[in-house]
Symmetry: C2
Subunit: 597 residues, 2 copies
Amino acid sequence: MKDTVPTITTGPLPASRKVYLQGRIHDIRVPLREIEIATEENLRVYDSSGPYTDADRAVAIADGLPDVRGRWLLDRGDIESYAGRAVTSADNGFATGTRLTPAFPLSRPPLRARGDRAVTQLAYARAGVITPEMEFVAIRENEGRSAAYLRDGDAMGADLPDLVTPEFVRREIAEGRAIIPANINHRELEPMIIGRNFKVKINANIGNSAVTSSMEEEVEKMVWAIRWGADTVMDLSTGRNIHNIRDWIIRNAPVPIGTVPLYQALEKVGGVAEDLTWEIFRDTLIEQAEQGVDYFTIHAGVRLHMIPMTAKRVTGIVSRGGSIMAKWCLHHHRESFLYEHFDEICDIMRAYDVSFSLGDGLRPGSIADANDEAQFAELRTLGELTKIAWAKDCQVMIEGPGHVPMHKIKANMDEQLKHCDEAPFYTLGPLTTDIAPGYDHITSAIGAAMIGWFGTAMLCYVTPKEHLGLPDRDDVKTGVITYKLAAHAADLAKGHPGARLRDDAISRARFEFRWQDQFNIGLDPDTAREMHDETMPAEAHKLAHFCSMCGPKFCSMRISHDIRAEAEKQAGMERMAERFREEGALYLPADSVERVE
Amino acid sequence: MKDTVPTITTGPLPASRKVYLQGRIHDIRVPLREIEIATEENLRVYDSSGPYTDADRAVAIADGLPDVRGRWLLDRGDIESYAGRAVTSADNGFATGTRLTPAFPLSRPPLRARGDRAVTQLAYARAGVITPEMEFVAIRENEGRSAAYLRDGDAMGADLPDLVTPEFVRREIAEGRAIIPANINHRELEPMIIGRNFKVKINANIGNSAVTSSMEEEVEKMVWAIRWGADTVMDLSTGRNIHNIRDWIIRNAPVPIGTVPLYQALEKVGGVAEDLTWEIFRDTLIEQAEQGVDYFTIHAGVRLHMIPMTAKRVTGIVSRGGSIMAKWCLHHHRESFLYEHFDEICDIMRAYDVSFSLGDGLRPGSIADANDEAQFAELRTLGELTKIAWAKDCQVMIEGPGHVPMHKIKANMDEQLKHCDEAPFYTLGPLTTDIAPGYDHITSAIGAAMIGWFGTAMLCYVTPKEHLGLPDRDDVKTGVITYKLAAHAADLAKGHPGARLRDDAISRARFEFRWQDQFNIGLDPDTAREMHDETMPAEAHKLAHFCSMCGPKFCSMRISHDIRAEAEKQAGMERMAERFREEGALYLPADSVERVE
């Protein structure tokens, strides 16, 4: 634990600058990161890091980020502002005096739908409206490309267009295959899209624990996670001050923020699951919806008759939300208030456009429990709830496991697509073995890359501390980079039409001994540079046409260049190739030909 | 770089002791590691770490490990000892005086086959002989099990018996599907088997660089790598003193040692590829065979007509051996001496039972170059060479890529099986994206786990320093643990009949809050314990029925226990389940039933 208050990390990544693309339909500015490359065109990449990496922008967290969406929203005419719910002492866990985190200094009256209007992206999409949010994500997904870079991959049923158009986005949302989590009260948001036919996204979890952590710390965790590429951030805080800290986070977040409202509701009843009520939960939903939370994990799929199905499991119920609801159901011997009041939950979520992340409360917590009766029973219920939410114009994604051995991963995707009618899948890993505590970012990156290829739209990261403790700053970064590479591996395998641009750029840099470019194009330039400098620190070495691993004599890439030079000198590679094709045997000693053919 | 000479790491892993199982056919002692578990039977696991982790054995590297195999070998009657080749100054890169690493103190005359006898495991297996090596690996593979633990998986064509018998081993070797790399001059070896129908193995690379490193350092690197689970170690040294350092390594190695003899041959001609000759290469093979190297990477598949196929590649030729041979071929405008003299190479290897690791000199070094014409042309040649080697009774495995996106991995395995007639595949990763320097142990673990599932028999590790620098001690450990977990994920997916024992044991420990057991059963107990203690250092907390991540209120596993207790109190879980199945609707409010069904 550090003693000093962290400062917010700002400034561009190495050799990078922020560029903004203008909308055509709407007056929007879409951020990308441009990496400077020595002898080639600069490379534009997707950028979730917000204004924090813009050298031209000063950020002060007490001001929050600019209100970019307010105008878009109010233009629509179906949204009103109102007084909002009064913050109670219970919202902050009854923290008082110096233990109370100060409220965020800026307070705006919350927005909600007028009357019973649906103000969700799904409702607009169904009505044929292309919102600024939709155009924003369309431009963002293309990363500055004006055509496909190449088509190569096995899409596994995904439909990846050469270029994403606003109309394509609209259609995907209208059909429920994608969501833009964008609470109308999160006016600082840079919209992003989650769907099988878009780039695979990743989520990072943050959250204060029972031990108090300051709001600066939590804001910095979020900023740090998005700096390295987190597309959304879930605030899983428990304990005191969660209302106020959440406000600080959202006001400073350019990415969608997700929560599990059940956690705060449980705090409000002193941690006694049985004491939870629909009224407390409902009030918590409205509280968080007014703050601007973009998606809620709702564990409405845990039904009473499924609980005995977990009796013989090796690891029981491992979802916090799932176990809380199971306990409640069993104690009261009835279906959960989440299930019984699902309609009303939908009504709240549609009034703010909070997206559903239907929680997998019965996900397996071990290889032994993967793909079992309880897990798939819940998944079918999640499919039923999806249809109800869609009928209410709510955006929906579905949470998935967990711990799953490689041979059982595909079935998870197939079942999800089947029962949830292609609503986006959002999985935690899955971990492909249980035996490596301390390395579960890796056991799970294997499963994440695979399920991403198969069609999962967003991957929830796992850090090295999984099962062991709370991730620190380094763990968060390791988790984010690990999941970025897994998501990218999935994009490559699916044949995303722009994915290989970055691989090819870094490979050319590698082959041409452009060390600085190799570092800068990579996901983590700082670590790559540090690792290189451990063995060969001198600046001059970064220009060397060989490296520390092999030295000049054994450098295959250097020799490859020699080979090309020699081959070109002799005849020209092309003509040589021709000659070999025509009279290949000329160069073979007779006995060797005979021997192998 | 450290200033102090490293000491050799010895002593058992936490809560572990070495046990030895006795042979039935032969007088052999097969080591396993037994992990003590608090409330369950102890868990026996595969153990490649040798006498270094045996609390009852003192190890002095100047003595070397005991000669366990001498008696087995000389009993056969087809092996003779002879004077051996004189060590030349060139063998050690002309190092002299204080720069010369001292020769290993113990010198035994080398062994070789009498006359033209084949003394390979393949020859014995074909003759119906079950050697001590075969019985040893049979016992070792079963890890103390007397039956299958469970059958669950998708074997992808592999044939995994409930228990491995010596006869099964013999048959697999006779049919070329597995090898036991075991040079008759590596008498310190604890034999292991590499084949698709056995546990997936991993290799770690070590090697001194041009910058001198001491023999203690190199021996410690090997000991360190096997401590964490490396099944074989490749010594990729270049530069001075490689002969003497190799001797120190082999005399202290309980695992097979592999080399690329071409590297030493190149040193002998001052690093000028064109100056290599068959005579120098042949002499180097004999030199290393007499020392006891268990497998040689031989890049005989790089043929002249294939070189132009690499002209348009993004990263050319990235195998060191491949690029050296390509340069030689192009310069001399003829097939390589490896290809032309392949018969003679076989004759040398069969006289010592050095296994072939047929090198993939044209493996892709980037996603762009994966599965290209050059790569698959070479693979077909490797298939032809396999048949020649088999005809000479030589054991063979085939090296594979490299950099391959997920959707192109399966084709690598399929082509290899087809063209190389199921000879074991031994792949480097493959890396599934190029964009994460600093994290290539992870980009490659994804590919390694998948190709392991598909049938690859051994995975060559990649460390975080790949593409950047020389791995240090921490990198070696990270690489080994990462590959152990990938290999294990592959075993699970294939449905290895014993694999899940360890996952289930750790998951039970997790569910029962047995923290110490959870650490000890994991692949890296030290790291798991350290990470846990960062957040909750107190000893008392290791007995706590919750942990630092969630605290008691949010602990799903604790709640799961409460749920079970409550359920049992109410009716007994089984009877409850029964009731729900029979009258499930009883508990549902009428409207919700209607709503979702």
